[in-house]
Protein backbone atom coordinates (compact mmCIF):
# COMPACT_ATOMS: atom_id res chain seq x y z
CA UNK A 1 0.00 0.00 0.00
CA UNK A 2 1.40 3.30 -1.00
CA UNK A 3 1.85 6.07 1.54
CA UNK A 4 0.77 9.53 0.86
CA UNK A 5 3.10 12.33 2.03
CA UNK A 6 2.04 15.91 1.88
CA UNK A 7 4.63 18.60 2.41
CA UNK A 8 2.81 21.51 3.96
CA UNK A 9 5.87 23.44 5.09
CA UNK A 10 6.43 26.73 3.38
CA UNK A 11 9.42 26.92 1.00
CA UNK A 12 11.08 29.81 2.95
CA UNK A 13 11.03 27.77 6.15
CA UNK A 14 12.62 24.78 4.41
CA UNK A 15 15.37 26.97 2.97
CA UNK A 16 16.04 28.50 6.39
CA UNK A 17 16.29 24.97 7.90
CA UNK A 18 18.81 23.85 5.24
CA UNK A 19 20.81 27.05 5.72
CA UNK A 20 21.00 26.70 9.51
CA UNK A 21 21.96 22.97 9.38
CA UNK A 22 24.74 23.90 6.94
CA UNK A 23 25.89 26.61 9.32
CA UNK A 24 25.93 24.20 12.29
CA UNK A 25 28.15 21.87 10.31
CA UNK A 26 30.54 24.71 9.46
CA UNK A 27 30.41 25.92 13.03
CA UNK A 28 31.32 22.53 14.50
CA UNK A 29 34.19 22.06 12.04
CA UNK A 30 35.49 25.57 12.85
CA UNK A 31 35.29 24.96 16.59
CA UNK A 32 37.11 21.66 16.15
CA UNK A 33 39.89 23.36 14.19
CA UNK A 34 40.23 26.14 16.75
CA UNK A 35 40.22 23.53 19.53
CA UNK A 36 42.96 21.49 17.86
CA UNK A 37 45.10 24.59 17.26
CA UNK A 38 44.62 25.80 20.83
CA UNK A 39 45.57 22.32 22.09
CA UNK A 40 48.71 22.33 19.94
CA UNK A 41 49.65 25.82 21.16
CA UNK A 42 49.23 24.87 24.81
CA UNK A 43 51.18 21.62 24.24
CA UNK A 44 54.07 23.50 22.68
CA UNK A 45 54.07 26.08 25.46
CA UNK A 46 54.08 23.31 28.08
CA UNK A 47 56.97 21.62 26.30
CA UNK A 48 58.84 24.92 26.20
CA UNK A 49 58.38 25.41 29.95
CA UNK A 50 59.65 21.87 30.63
CA UNK A 51 62.55 22.45 28.29
CA UNK A 52 63.52 25.72 30.00
CA UNK A 53 63.55 23.95 33.36
CA UNK A 54 65.73 21.18 31.93
CA UNK A 55 68.11 23.72 30.39
CA UNK A 56 68.41 25.53 33.72
CA UNK A 57 69.19 22.24 35.46
CA UNK A 58 71.84 21.38 32.88
CA UNK A 59 73.35 24.85 33.13
CA UNK A 60 73.72 24.58 36.89
CA UNK A 61 75.24 21.10 36.45
CA UNK A 62 77.71 22.48 33.90
CA UNK A 63 78.56 25.36 36.22
CA UNK A 64 79.27 22.94 39.06
CA UNK A 65 81.52 20.87 36.81
CA UNK A 66 83.22 24.06 35.62
CA UNK A 67 84.04 25.02 39.20
CA UNK A 68 85.36 21.54 39.82
CA UNK A 69 87.61 21.73 36.77
CA UNK A 70 88.82 25.18 37.85
CA UNK A 71 89.90 23.77 41.18
CA UNK A 72 92.20 21.34 39.29
CA UNK A 73 93.73 24.03 37.09
CA UNK A 74 97.25 23.34 38.41
CA UNK A 75 96.99 19.66 37.52
CA UNK A 76 95.74 20.60 34.05
CA UNK A 77 98.68 22.97 33.63
CA UNK A 78 101.13 20.26 34.70
CA UNK A 79 99.53 17.79 32.35
CA UNK A 80 99.63 20.13 29.34
CA UNK A 81 103.23 21.07 30.06
CA UNK A 82 104.16 17.41 30.47
CA UNK A 83 102.43 16.41 27.25
CA UNK A 84 104.08 19.30 25.40
CA UNK A 85 107.53 18.22 26.60
CA UNK A 86 106.94 14.51 26.03
CA UNK A 87 105.88 15.02 22.41
CA UNK A 88 109.30 16.54 21.60
CA UNK A 89 111.20 14.13 23.85
CA UNK A 90 109.45 11.27 22.05
CA UNK A 91 110.77 12.60 18.74
CA UNK A 92 114.41 12.66 19.82
CA UNK A 93 114.98 10.42 22.81
CA UNK A 94 116.79 7.24 21.86
CA UNK A 95 117.13 8.20 18.21
CA UNK A 96 120.45 8.69 16.48
CA UNK A 97 121.01 11.57 14.10
CA UNK A 98 121.96 10.89 10.50
CA UNK A 99 125.40 12.18 11.28
CA UNK A 100 125.91 9.67 14.10
CA UNK A 101 124.57 6.82 11.98
CA UNK A 102 126.97 7.59 9.12
CA UNK A 103 129.89 8.07 11.51
CA UNK A 104 129.16 4.72 13.15
CA UNK A 105 128.91 3.05 9.75
CA UNK A 106 132.30 4.34 8.64
CA UNK A 107 133.96 3.18 11.84
CA UNK A 108 132.34 -0.21 11.31
CA UNK A 109 133.42 -0.56 7.68
CA UNK A 110 136.97 0.61 8.23
CA UNK A 111 139.43 -2.31 7.80
CA UNK A 112 142.10 -2.55 10.56
CA UNK A 113 144.90 -1.82 8.11
CA UNK A 114 143.38 1.52 7.13
CA UNK A 115 143.90 4.43 9.46
CA UNK A 116 142.03 7.67 9.38
CA UNK A 117 144.03 10.89 9.20
CA UNK A 118 141.02 13.17 9.22
CA UNK A 119 137.32 12.65 9.02
CA UNK A 120 134.67 15.31 9.10
CA UNK A 121 130.94 14.74 9.16
CA UNK A 122 128.45 17.53 8.61
CA UNK A 123 124.95 17.78 10.06
CA UNK A 124 123.44 16.35 6.88
CA UNK A 125 125.72 13.35 7.24
CA UNK A 126 128.08 14.29 4.37
CA UNK A 127 131.48 12.82 5.13
CA UNK A 128 134.94 13.75 4.01
CA UNK A 129 137.68 11.23 4.82
CA UNK A 130 141.43 11.28 4.43
CA UNK A 131 142.61 7.73 5.02
CA UNK A 132 146.03 6.17 4.79
CA UNK A 133 147.13 2.57 4.47
CA UNK A 134 150.17 0.63 3.42
CA UNK A 135 147.89 -2.06 2.06
CA UNK A 136 146.11 -1.17 -1.19
CA UNK A 137 143.76 -4.13 -0.86
CA UNK A 138 142.47 -2.82 2.47
CA UNK A 139 141.66 0.54 0.87
CA UNK A 140 139.95 -1.31 -1.96
CA UNK A 141 137.97 -3.34 0.58
CA UNK A 142 136.99 -0.12 2.39
CA UNK A 143 135.64 1.43 -0.82
CA UNK A 144 133.88 -1.81 -1.78
CA UNK A 145 132.24 -1.94 1.64
CA UNK A 146 131.10 1.65 1.26
CA UNK A 147 129.64 0.95 -2.18
CA UNK A 148 127.98 -2.38 -1.48
CA UNK A 149 124.35 -2.19 -0.40
CA UNK A 150 124.83 -5.30 1.74
CA UNK A 151 127.46 -3.65 3.88
CA UNK A 152 126.59 0.05 3.73
CA UNK A 153 123.15 -0.55 5.25
CA UNK A 154 121.68 1.40 2.34
CA UNK A 155 122.85 4.65 3.90
CA UNK A 156 125.28 5.75 1.20
CA UNK A 157 124.00 7.60 -1.85
CA UNK A 158 127.17 8.62 -3.59
CA UNK A 159 130.93 8.32 -3.17
CA UNK A 160 133.38 10.54 -4.93
CA UNK A 161 137.07 9.84 -4.73
CA UNK A 162 138.99 13.09 -4.77
CA UNK A 163 142.48 11.81 -4.56
CA UNK A 164 144.42 8.56 -4.40
CA UNK A 165 148.18 8.69 -4.23
CA UNK A 166 151.05 6.46 -3.20
CA UNK A 167 154.10 8.05 -1.66
CA UNK A 168 157.73 7.01 -1.75
CA UNK A 169 157.18 5.45 1.67
CA UNK A 170 154.72 3.02 0.03
CA UNK A 171 151.74 4.44 1.88
CA UNK A 172 148.49 5.02 0.01
CA UNK A 173 146.63 8.24 0.74
CA UNK A 174 142.97 8.36 -0.14
CA UNK A 175 140.61 11.34 -0.01
CA UNK A 176 136.97 10.41 -0.39
CA UNK A 177 133.68 12.25 -0.02
CA UNK A 178 130.52 10.38 0.92
CA UNK A 179 126.98 11.63 0.47
CA UNK A 180 124.40 9.89 2.61
CA UNK A 181 120.88 8.90 1.47
Amino acid sequence: MQRLTIDLLPAEFKQAQIKSSKFYKIQSIGIAIIGIIAFLASLIIALRILQSQKVLQLQSRAQEAEQKVSSFKTSQGYLLLLKNRLSTINQYLGTSSKLAQVYNLIEKLLPPAVSISTISVSQSGAVSILATSSDGNSLDLFLTNLLSKDTNEDKVKEISMENLSRGKDGIYRLTVNIKPK
Partner: protein, 234 residues
Protein backbone atom coordinates in the same frame (compact mmCIF):
# COMPACT_ATOMS: atom_id res chain seq x y z
CA UNK B 1 19.45 50.44 15.16
CA UNK B 2 23.04 49.81 14.13
CA UNK B 3 23.26 46.75 16.34
CA UNK B 4 20.24 45.29 14.72
CA UNK B 5 21.70 45.91 11.31
CA UNK B 6 24.92 44.18 12.25
CA UNK B 7 23.02 41.21 13.69
CA UNK B 8 20.92 40.99 10.58
CA UNK B 9 24.03 41.17 8.41
CA UNK B 10 25.67 38.43 10.48
CA UNK B 11 22.60 36.18 10.35
CA UNK B 12 22.44 36.59 6.61
CA UNK B 13 26.15 35.94 5.98
CA UNK B 14 27.13 33.82 9.02
CA UNK B 15 27.90 30.85 6.74
CA UNK B 16 30.78 32.91 5.30
CA UNK B 17 31.65 35.08 8.29
CA UNK B 18 32.18 32.21 10.75
CA UNK B 19 34.71 30.24 8.64
CA UNK B 20 36.58 33.47 7.85
CA UNK B 21 36.81 34.40 11.55
CA UNK B 22 37.87 30.82 12.39
CA UNK B 23 40.53 30.86 9.68
CA UNK B 24 41.87 34.25 10.76
CA UNK B 25 42.08 33.28 14.44
CA UNK B 26 43.74 29.96 13.49
CA UNK B 27 46.28 31.75 11.37
CA UNK B 28 46.95 34.26 14.17
CA UNK B 29 47.44 31.40 16.64
CA UNK B 30 49.71 29.52 14.27
CA UNK B 31 51.89 32.50 13.35
CA UNK B 32 52.02 34.24 16.70
CA UNK B 33 52.18 31.26 19.05
CA UNK B 34 52.75 27.86 17.49
CA UNK B 35 55.36 28.76 14.86
CA UNK B 36 57.71 30.89 17.04
CA UNK B 37 57.38 28.56 20.01
CA UNK B 38 58.03 25.51 17.84
CA UNK B 39 61.08 27.21 16.38
CA UNK B 40 62.37 28.05 19.85
CA UNK B 41 61.66 24.51 20.97
CA UNK B 42 63.78 23.14 18.16
CA UNK B 43 66.62 25.63 18.65
CA UNK B 44 66.59 25.08 22.41
CA UNK B 45 66.70 21.35 21.75
CA UNK B 46 70.07 21.91 20.08
CA UNK B 47 71.24 24.23 22.87
CA UNK B 48 70.11 21.68 25.42
CA UNK B 49 72.07 18.94 23.66
CA UNK B 50 75.14 21.19 23.59
CA UNK B 51 74.88 22.13 27.26
CA UNK B 52 74.34 18.48 28.14
CA UNK B 53 77.39 17.51 26.08
CA UNK B 54 79.51 20.24 27.70
CA UNK B 55 78.31 19.29 31.14
CA UNK B 56 79.18 15.61 30.54
CA UNK B 57 82.56 16.60 29.12
CA UNK B 58 83.37 18.85 32.08
CA UNK B 59 82.29 16.19 34.56
CA UNK B 60 84.48 13.60 32.82
CA UNK B 61 87.36 16.08 32.73
CA UNK B 62 86.98 16.91 36.41
CA UNK B 63 86.89 13.19 37.22
CA UNK B 64 90.00 12.56 35.10
CA UNK B 65 91.84 15.46 36.75
CA UNK B 66 90.80 14.21 40.17
CA UNK B 67 92.41 10.86 39.37
CA UNK B 68 95.79 12.46 38.75
CA UNK B 69 98.04 12.75 41.75
CA UNK B 70 99.35 16.33 41.76
CA UNK B 71 102.60 15.33 43.45
CA UNK B 72 103.21 12.56 40.92
CA UNK B 73 102.45 14.94 38.03
CA UNK B 74 104.85 17.49 39.47
CA UNK B 75 107.58 14.84 39.65
CA UNK B 76 106.90 13.80 36.06
CA UNK B 77 107.05 17.43 34.89
CA UNK B 78 110.39 17.86 36.66
CA UNK B 79 111.62 14.67 35.03
CA UNK B 80 110.61 15.90 31.57
CA UNK B 81 112.20 19.29 32.27
CA UNK B 82 115.47 17.55 33.15
CA UNK B 83 115.48 16.00 29.70
CA UNK B 84 114.07 18.97 27.82
CA UNK B 85 114.33 22.08 29.99
CA UNK B 86 112.61 25.42 29.68
CA UNK B 87 115.85 27.38 29.62
CA UNK B 88 119.54 27.03 28.81
CA UNK B 89 121.04 24.61 31.33
CA UNK B 90 124.76 25.03 30.68
CA UNK B 91 125.85 23.60 34.03
CA UNK B 92 123.83 20.39 33.61
CA UNK B 93 125.02 19.82 30.06
CA UNK B 94 128.67 20.49 30.92
CA UNK B 95 128.40 18.06 33.82
CA UNK B 96 126.78 15.43 31.63
CA UNK B 97 129.36 15.83 28.86
CA UNK B 98 132.17 15.65 31.38
CA UNK B 99 130.79 12.38 32.69
CA UNK B 100 130.20 10.82 29.30
CA UNK B 101 133.63 11.78 27.96
CA UNK B 102 135.43 10.70 31.14
CA UNK B 103 133.68 7.33 31.09
CA UNK B 104 135.24 6.54 27.68
CA UNK B 105 138.67 7.97 28.45
CA UNK B 106 138.35 11.25 26.58
CA UNK B 107 139.92 14.45 27.78
CA UNK B 108 138.20 17.74 27.15
CA UNK B 109 140.63 20.26 25.64
CA UNK B 110 138.08 23.01 25.24
CA UNK B 111 134.38 23.45 25.50
CA UNK B 112 132.62 26.45 24.03
CA UNK B 113 129.00 27.41 24.00
CA UNK B 114 127.31 29.35 21.23
CA UNK B 115 124.02 29.93 19.47
CA UNK B 116 121.99 27.08 18.13
CA UNK B 117 120.23 26.39 14.88
CA UNK B 118 117.69 23.71 15.64
CA UNK B 119 114.83 23.74 13.16
CA UNK B 120 112.16 22.35 15.40
CA UNK B 121 108.76 23.94 15.94
CA UNK B 122 108.48 25.51 19.42
CA UNK B 123 112.02 24.48 20.29
CA UNK B 124 115.25 26.36 20.64
CA UNK B 125 118.78 25.16 20.92
CA UNK B 126 122.24 26.28 21.81
CA UNK B 127 125.44 24.94 20.42
CA UNK B 128 128.24 23.28 22.34
CA UNK B 129 131.60 22.72 20.69
CA UNK B 130 133.72 20.06 22.31
CA UNK B 131 137.40 19.65 21.52
CA UNK B 132 138.56 16.30 22.81
CA UNK B 133 141.53 14.04 22.80
CA UNK B 134 140.86 10.39 23.17
CA UNK B 135 140.66 6.95 21.61
CA UNK B 136 139.40 7.14 18.03
CA UNK B 137 137.77 3.72 18.37
CA UNK B 138 135.55 5.01 21.16
CA UNK B 139 134.40 8.13 19.33
CA UNK B 140 131.31 6.52 17.72
CA UNK B 141 130.32 5.18 21.12
CA UNK B 142 130.80 8.61 22.66
CA UNK B 143 128.56 10.25 20.06
CA UNK B 144 126.06 7.48 20.54
CA UNK B 145 126.11 7.91 24.32
CA UNK B 146 125.65 11.68 24.00
CA UNK B 147 122.70 11.29 21.63
CA UNK B 148 121.13 8.51 23.66
CA UNK B 149 121.51 10.37 26.95
CA UNK B 150 118.29 11.46 28.68
CA UNK B 151 119.12 15.12 27.93
CA UNK B 152 118.06 16.01 24.37
CA UNK B 153 121.35 16.62 22.55
CA UNK B 154 122.02 16.05 18.87
CA UNK B 155 125.37 16.03 17.12
CA UNK B 156 125.60 18.57 14.30
CA UNK B 157 129.16 18.04 13.18
CA UNK B 158 132.21 15.89 13.84
CA UNK B 159 135.80 16.41 12.86
CA UNK B 160 138.44 13.90 13.74
CA UNK B 161 142.13 14.08 13.04
CA UNK B 162 144.83 11.64 14.00
CA UNK B 163 147.21 12.80 16.72
CA UNK B 164 150.81 11.88 17.37
CA UNK B 165 149.79 8.75 19.22
CA UNK B 166 148.20 6.27 16.74
CA UNK B 167 145.55 5.32 19.31
CA UNK B 168 144.57 8.86 20.16
CA UNK B 169 142.76 11.37 18.00
CA UNK B 170 141.75 14.98 18.22
CA UNK B 171 138.01 15.12 17.95
CA UNK B 172 135.81 18.15 17.57
CA UNK B 173 132.14 17.55 18.13
CA UNK B 174 129.49 20.20 17.53
CA UNK B 175 126.35 19.57 19.51
CA UNK B 176 122.88 21.08 19.45
CA UNK B 177 121.38 21.11 22.91
CA UNK B 178 117.61 21.44 22.76
CA UNK B 179 115.44 23.43 25.13
CA UNK B 180 112.08 25.09 24.86
CA UNK B 181 110.54 28.04 26.71
CA UNK B 182 107.49 27.05 28.72
CA UNK B 183 104.14 27.14 26.95
CA UNK B 184 102.14 30.30 27.55
CA UNK B 185 98.70 28.74 27.67
CA UNK B 186 97.80 26.09 30.18
CA UNK B 187 94.47 25.38 28.55
CA UNK B 188 91.00 26.77 29.09
CA UNK B 189 88.21 25.07 30.99
CA UNK B 190 86.73 23.75 27.76
CA UNK B 191 89.98 22.59 26.22
CA UNK B 192 90.30 18.82 26.01
CA UNK B 193 92.56 17.17 28.52
CA UNK B 194 95.57 15.44 27.00
CA UNK B 195 96.01 11.87 28.04
CA UNK B 196 99.32 10.26 28.79
CA UNK B 197 99.63 7.45 26.29
CA UNK B 198 101.49 4.20 26.83
CA UNK B 199 104.34 5.64 24.80
CA UNK B 200 104.47 8.67 27.12
CA UNK B 201 104.55 6.40 30.16
CA UNK B 202 107.37 4.41 28.54
CA UNK B 203 109.33 7.62 27.95
CA UNK B 204 108.82 8.69 31.55
CA UNK B 205 109.93 5.26 32.77
CA UNK B 206 113.02 5.50 30.55
CA UNK B 207 113.80 8.98 31.85
CA UNK B 208 113.22 7.87 35.42
CA UNK B 209 115.59 4.93 35.05
CA UNK B 210 118.27 6.84 33.15
CA UNK B 211 118.24 10.11 35.05
CA UNK B 212 118.21 8.75 38.58
CA UNK B 213 121.34 6.52 38.36
CA UNK B 214 123.24 9.27 36.53
CA UNK B 215 122.51 11.86 39.15
CA UNK B 216 123.33 9.36 41.88
CA UNK B 217 126.67 8.41 40.34
CA UNK B 218 127.42 12.03 39.61
CA UNK B 219 127.13 12.84 43.27
CA UNK B 220 129.04 9.76 44.28
CA UNK B 221 132.03 9.98 41.93
CA UNK B 222 134.80 12.41 42.67
CA UNK B 223 132.49 14.69 44.52
CA UNK B 224 131.13 15.92 41.21
CA UNK B 225 127.65 17.30 41.40
CA UNK B 226 125.15 17.69 38.59
CA UNK B 227 126.61 21.17 38.05
CA UNK B 228 129.94 19.62 37.02
CA UNK B 229 133.46 19.84 38.28
CA UNK B 230 135.04 22.97 39.64
CA UNK B 231 137.31 22.97 36.58
CA UNK B 232 135.45 21.37 33.70
CA UNK B 233 138.59 21.05 31.57
CA UNK B 234 140.53 18.89 33.96
Amino acid sequence: MKKEEILKFYLNYRVFIFPVVTAISSIILIFLVIYPQALKLLSNQKAQAEISKRSNFLEAKAQALQNYDREDLNNKVNLSLTSYPADKDFANVIGLLQNLTAQLGFKIISLSIGGGSAKIVNAKSYGVKLDLVGPLKSSPLLINNIEQSPRLIKASGIETSAGGDPNLANITINLEVLYSPPINSYGSIDSPLPELSNKDQEILATLQSSISPVSQTQQATQGASIRGKANPFQ
